[in-house]
C-alpha cells in the first residue's frame, strides 16, 4: 500500500482520516484533494493502490471519482468514506466499483479496524445492502425487465446463498460457520458479488449510452 488518494473537502476530517490512514499504512504516500476536479486530475497523472473518497463534495459526487478509478486503474481499491449510511448513497457507489464504505463518525478504533479489514480483502456488507443486491440481480434475471442485448451477469448459487444469509442479519463469520467455509472464502464471495454488481451496472450504463446515441458505430 504505497500510494493512497484521499478525497475529502473538510480540512479537519481530512486531517483526521489522514492520521488514521498513516496509522494503518505507515509507509504510504498520501495525495490529498478537496475537489472532484482535482482528484480526477490526480488519478490521470499517477497510479494509486487505495482511494478514500468522500461522496458529497463541493463540485460533484465522489461516485464519479470511483467510476473513473475503476475505468483507468482497475487494480486500485476504492473505499467510500461518508457521513451517509443510507442505501440510496451507498448502492450507487458500490455499483460504480467501490469496494467498501466507512462511516466517518465511527470511533477511531472501529474505523481503523474496518480499514484494515478492507485492505486485507474483507469488504463490509450490511443486510440492507444485501437486500438491494438481491433485488437488483433478481430483476436482471427477468428477461422482460432486462434491456435487450444486455450481457447477462448473474450470481452463482453460493453467492446468492451468502447474500440471503447477510440479508437475514447474519455476520460474515457466522455465515462462514453455517456454510462450513473459511472467513476468507466468504470475503471472496462478497468481493465477487461487488465485482459483478459493478460489471452489470457498467454494461447497463454502456447500453443506455448506446441507446441514447452517445456512441456511434
Amino acid at each position: 500500500m504505497n500510494k493512497i488518494l484521499l478525497l475529502e473537502d473538510l480540512p479537519e476530517i481530512r486531517a483526521w482520516v489522514k492520521a488514521l490512514v498513516t496509522q494503518v499504512f505507515p509507509q504510504a504516500q498520501i495525495s490529498e484533494s478537496a475537489r472532484v476536479h482535482d482528484a480526477l486530475a490526480l488519478i490521470s497523472a499517477e497510479r494509486f493502490d487505495v482511494a478514500l473518497v468522500d461522496l458529497g463534495l463541493p463540485d460533484g459526487s465522489g461516485v464519479d471519482v470511483v467510476a473513473a478509478l475503476r475505468d483507468t486503474q482497475p487494480e486500485a481499491q476504492s473505499v467510500v468514506v461518508t457521513i451517509h449510511d443510507d442505501d440510496d448513497h451507498l448502492f450507487p457507489a458500490l455499483q460504480a466499483g467501490a469496494f467498501g464504505y466507512l462511516l466517518k463518525e465511527q470511533p477511531r478504533e472501529h474505523f481503523v479496524e474496518q480499514l484494515r479489514r478492507i485492505s486485507q480483502g474483507e469488504p463490509p456488507l450490511t443486510p440492507s445492502i444485501a437486500r438491494r443486491v438481491i433485488a437488483y440481480f433478481a430483476a436482471q434475471n427477468k428477461p422482460q425487465e432486462r434491456p435487450q442485448n444486455l450481457p447477462h451477469v448473474s450470481l452463482t448459487d453460493r453467492e446468492n446463498e451468502v447474500l440471503l444469509w447477510v440479508a437475514k442479519g447474519f455476520t460474515l463469520p457466522e455465515i462462514g460457520t453455517q456454510l462450513n467455509l473459511s472467513r476468507h472464502t466468504i470475503a471472496d464471495y462478497v468481493k465477487q458479488i461487488y465485482r459483478k454488481l459493478n460489471v452489470s451496472s457498467r454494461a447497463e450504463a454502456a447500453l443506455e449510452a448506446q441507446r441514447l446515441g452517445l456512441f456511434r458505430r
Partner: protein, 640 residues
C-alpha cells in the same frame, strides 16, 4: 368488392323489408280503396231508383237570348251533350229545352221534386215552365267555374204540372280549344228528375268525390309541404325535400281550380294559369326525383327552367283559340318527362344495391300508380275514353304525395334518431374523456406533489448532512474531551435517524430484525461477548413505520452499549417475538447488573430514562429488571 361491415342478418333484412312493404302497401291500398270507392259510386246513379226519370234528349240552340229562343232553329241533341263534339266552336251560352212528365209518386204525399244536373260546364241557369228556378253563378265573364260541381235544382211544387213540364237550361261554357283540359270544356250531362231527398244524396256523393275530398286532401298537402320545406331547410343535404314541399304546395294551389268557382279573372286566364302551373309542377317533380336519387344535372335544371318559361310563351303565341291543342301537346311532353324521370329514378335506385332496393319497391309502387293515373288522364284528354264523372287523378295524386311525404318524414325521423343517438354517444364519450383527463390530471398533480415532497425531503436531509453533519463530525474528531466527542457522535446519529424517520418509508419487520441482528451481533462479538439472537425469520409480513424503526434501533443500540460498557457480561441473549398487534424484544445479559442509587431507583447514567421515554413515545413500554449479580433484563414491548 369485400365488405368489412358485418352483414345484417337475413331475418333483420326481411323484417326491415317487411316494414317498408307494409308502409308502402298501406299507402297503395289507401289509394286503391279510395279509387275503387269512387268508381263504385259511379253506376250508383239514381236513374234506376223508383220515382226517378233520366232525361237523355233535349232541344238545343246556341243563343244569348235571356229566355229560351223558341223562334230560332233548334236541334235535337242527346244528353250528355259534349260541345267539343256537337258545337266545337261554341263558347255558349247554349239553351237546352227538356220536356218531362213527372214520374208517378210512389209515396204520399208527393215528395218535393228536384232536377239533378251532374255536369253543366261551366255553369247554368234553369227555368221551370218559364220561371227562373236556379242560377249557378255568372254567365258572363268571368264566368263561374262549376264544371266539377253537380247541381241540384229544387222544383217548386207550385210551378210543376202533372204533365208537360218544360225545363230550360242555359249553359255557359267554353269551347274545347279555349280550355286546357277536356274536363272543363262546355257541355251538359243528362238530367235526372226525382224526389229531392234522393237526388240530394246523389249530389252530396258526387260533390264529395269531386270537390270536398280534393279540398280536404289539398288542405293536407299544404301543411305537409310546409313541413317538407322546413325539413329541407333544416337539412341542407336533402334538397329534394324542398322540391317535394314546393311540389305538394304547388299541387294544392293548382287544385284550387276544382273548387274556386268565382275567380276574379276570365276563363282564358284561368286555363292559361293552370297549364303554366303544370309546367312548374312537372319541373319540381323531376327535380325531386333526380335529387332524391342523388343525381344532379345543371343542364337538366336549366332545361326545366327554360321549359317553365317556354310553356307560357308558347301558349301566348298559340293564342287563346288554340289553347287546348297547345296544352295537349305540352301535357303529352310533360307526362313523357315525368315518366322518363320516374324510370331513371327507379333504375338508379335499383342499382344502389340492397339499400336502394329497400327504397325501390315503395317508390316503384307509388310512381307506377302515378304513371297509371297520368295515362288515364291523357286518355281522357284525348277523348279515347269518355269523361269519367269522378276525377280519380284529382284526389289520388295528392294521396300519392301524402304517401311519399310520409315516407320522407319517416326517413327524416329515422335520420333524426340516428343523429340523436350518435350525439348522445358522442356526448358520453366526451364525458368519459373529460373524466379521464381530470383523473389523469389529478393523478399527475398528486404524483407531482409527491415528487416535490420527496425531493424537498431529500434536500433537507442532504442539507442536514452537509451542514449540521459536517460540523458535528468535526466536533467528533477534533474535540479534546471524550465526553463531548461522544455527545457529538450521538447527536450525529440522532440527526441521521431523524433524517431517516423523515425520508424513510415503512419497512418490513423482517428487514428491521435483520438490520438489528447484524449490528447487535457484530458489536457484541467485537467486544468479545457471545451473542445469542433468536427471532422469527419466516412468515413475518408486518410493517414497521420508519419512526418506530428509528426509535427501536436507538433503544437497542443503547442497551447493547450498556452491556458492552458497563455489564462485564460474557453472554447476551436476545429474543424477539411478534404478535398480532405488537412485538416484544427481550435483551438479557449475564453481567453484574445495574447498581441502585441511593433512592432505590436504577442508575440514570445508563440511559434507562431515555429508553423508557422513547418507548412511551411509541405507546409502548420498556421494563428493566436488574439486581446486582443477576445480570439485566430489558423487555421492550411496542405496538405494530
Amino acid at each position: 368488392m369485400p365488405c368489412f361491415a358485418p352483414p345484417p342478418t337475413l331475418a333483420h333484412r326481411l323484417r326491415a323489408a317487411a316494414r317498408r312493404m307494409a308502409a308502402t302497401m298501406g299507402a297503395v291500398v289507401a289509394v286503391a280503396v279510395t279509387s275503387a270507392l269512387a268508381l263504385a259510386a259511379l253506376p250508383a246513379g239514381a236513374a234506376d231508383e223508383p220515382g226517378v226519370i233520366e232525361i237523355r234528349t233535349a232541344s238545343a240552340v246556341a243563343s244569348t237570348a235571356p229566355v229560351f229562343p223558341q223562334d230560332l232553329k233548334q236541334r235535337s241533341v242527346r244528353l250528355p251533350d259534349d260541345w267539343a263534339e256537337s258545337l266545337p266552336q261554341a263558347d255558349g251560352p247554349v239553351w237546352y229545352r227538356l220536356e218531362f212528365t213527372l214520374p208517378a209518386p210512389h209515396v204520399t204525399p208527393a215528395p218535393l221534386m228536384a232536377a239533378y244536373i251532374e255536369r253543366a260546364c261551366s255553369t247554368a241557369q234553369v227555368w221551370l215552365n218559364g220561371n227562373l228556378v236556379f242560377s249557378g253563378g255568372h254567365l258572363t265573364e268571368p264566368v263561374t267555374r262549376s264544371c266539377f260541381y253537380p247541381q241540384l235544382v229544387t222544383l217548386p211544387p207550385a210551378l210543376l204540372n202533372p204533365q208537360g213540364n218544360v225545363l230550360d237550361i242555359k249553359v255557359q261554357g267554353s269551347a274545347l280549344q279555349h280550355v286546357a283540359s277536356r274536363q272543363r270544356a262546355g257541355g251538359l250531362s243528362t238530367v235526372q228528375i226525382g224526389p229531392h231527398a234522393l237526388l240530394a244524396e246523389l249530389q252530396a256523393r258526387q260533390t264529395f268525390w269531386n270537390v270536398s275530398l280534393v279540398q280536404v286532401i289539398s288542405a293536407m298537402l299544404v301543411p305537409l309541404g310546409i313541413v317538407m320545406l322546413g325539413m329541407g331547410w333544416q337539412d341542407r343535404r336533402s334538397p329534394y325535400l324542398i322540391y317535394f314541399g314546393l311540389l305538394a304546395i304547388g299541387w294544392a294551389a293548382l287544385s284550387a281550380r276544382l273548387w274556386w268557382r268565382d275567380p276574379p279573372w276570365d276563363n282564358a286566364t284561368s286555363e292559361f294559369g293552370v297549364c303554366v302551373g303544370f309546367g312548374v309542377l312537372v319541373a319540381l317533380a323531376i327535380q325531386f326525383l333526380m335529387r332524391y336519387a342523388a343525381m344532379r344535372s345543371t343542364k337538366l335544371e336549366i332545361g326545366l327552367l327554360v321549359q317553365c318559361v317556354l310553356v307560357p310563351v308558347s301558349l301566348a303565341l298559340a293564342g287563346p283559340e288554340r289553347l287546348y291543342t297547345a296544352t295537349s301537346g305540352w301535357y303529352l311532353l310533360l307526362s313523357a318527362e315525368v315518366m322518363a324521370a320516374v324510370t331513371l329514378y327507379l333504375r338508379v335506385t335499383w342499382r344502389k344495391g340492397p339499400d336502394g332496393r329497400a327504397e325501390f319497391w315503395p317508390m316503384a309502387f307509388m310512381l307506377m300508380g302515378v304513371g297509371v293515373l297520368v295515362l288515364v288522364d291523357l286518355a281522357t284528354q284525348h277523348g279515347w275514353i269518355t269523361l269519367l264523372p269522378v276525377h280519380v287523378l284529382h284526389f289520388s295524386m295528392p294521396l300519392m304525395f301524402i304517401a311519399v311525404g310520409a315516407r320522407q318524414i319517416q326517413i327524416f325521423g329515422r335520420a333524426l334518431q340516428v343523429a340523436e343517438a350518435s350525439r348522445n354517444s358522442l356526448e358520453s364519450r366526451i364525458n368519459e374523456v373529460t373524466a379521464e383527463i381530470e383523473r389523469n390530471f389529478s393523478q399527475m398533480a398528486e404524483l407531482r406533489v409527491e415528487q416535490v415532497t420527496e425531493k424537498e425531503r431529500k434536500r433537507i436531509a442532504a442539507d442536514l448532512h452537509d451542514d449540521l453533519g459536517a460540523k458535528l463530525l468535526t466536533i467528533v474528531h477534533t474535540s479534546e474531551s471524550e465526553r463531548i466527542s461522544t455527545l457529538a457522535r450521538e447527536a450525529l446519529e440522532e440527526m441521521r435517524l431523524s433524517v431517516r424517520g423523515l425520508t424513510g418509508k415503512p419497512m418490513q419487520v423482517a428487514d428491521a430484525l435483520a438490520d438489528w441482528r447484524a449490528e447487535t451481533v457484530s458489536r457484541l462479538s467485537q467486544a468479545n461477548i457471545e451473542a445469542d439472537w433468536r427471532s422469527p425469520t419466516e412468515d413475518v409480513h408486518q410493517q414497521l413505520s420508519a419512526r418506530a424503526f428509528v426509535q427501536t434501533t436507538r433503544i437497542l443500540r443503547e442497551a447493547v452499549s450498556n452491556i458492552i460498557k458497563h455489564s462485564g457480561a460474557s453472554h447476551c441473549k436476545v429474543r424477539c417475538s411478534i404478535g398480532e398487534h405488537d412485538f416484544v424484544l427481550v435483551v438479557q445479559d449475564n453481567g453484574k447488573g445495574i447498581p441502585m442509587e441511593l433512592d432505590g431507583k436504577l442508575d440514570r447514567g445508563h440511559g434507562m430514562a431515555s429508553m423508557k421515554h422513547r418507548a412511551k413515545q411509541m405507546q409502548g413500554q420498556c421494563l428493566v429488571e436488574s439486581g446486582p449479580g443477576y445480570g439485566t433484563v430489558i423487555r421492550l414491548t411496542l405496538p405494530l
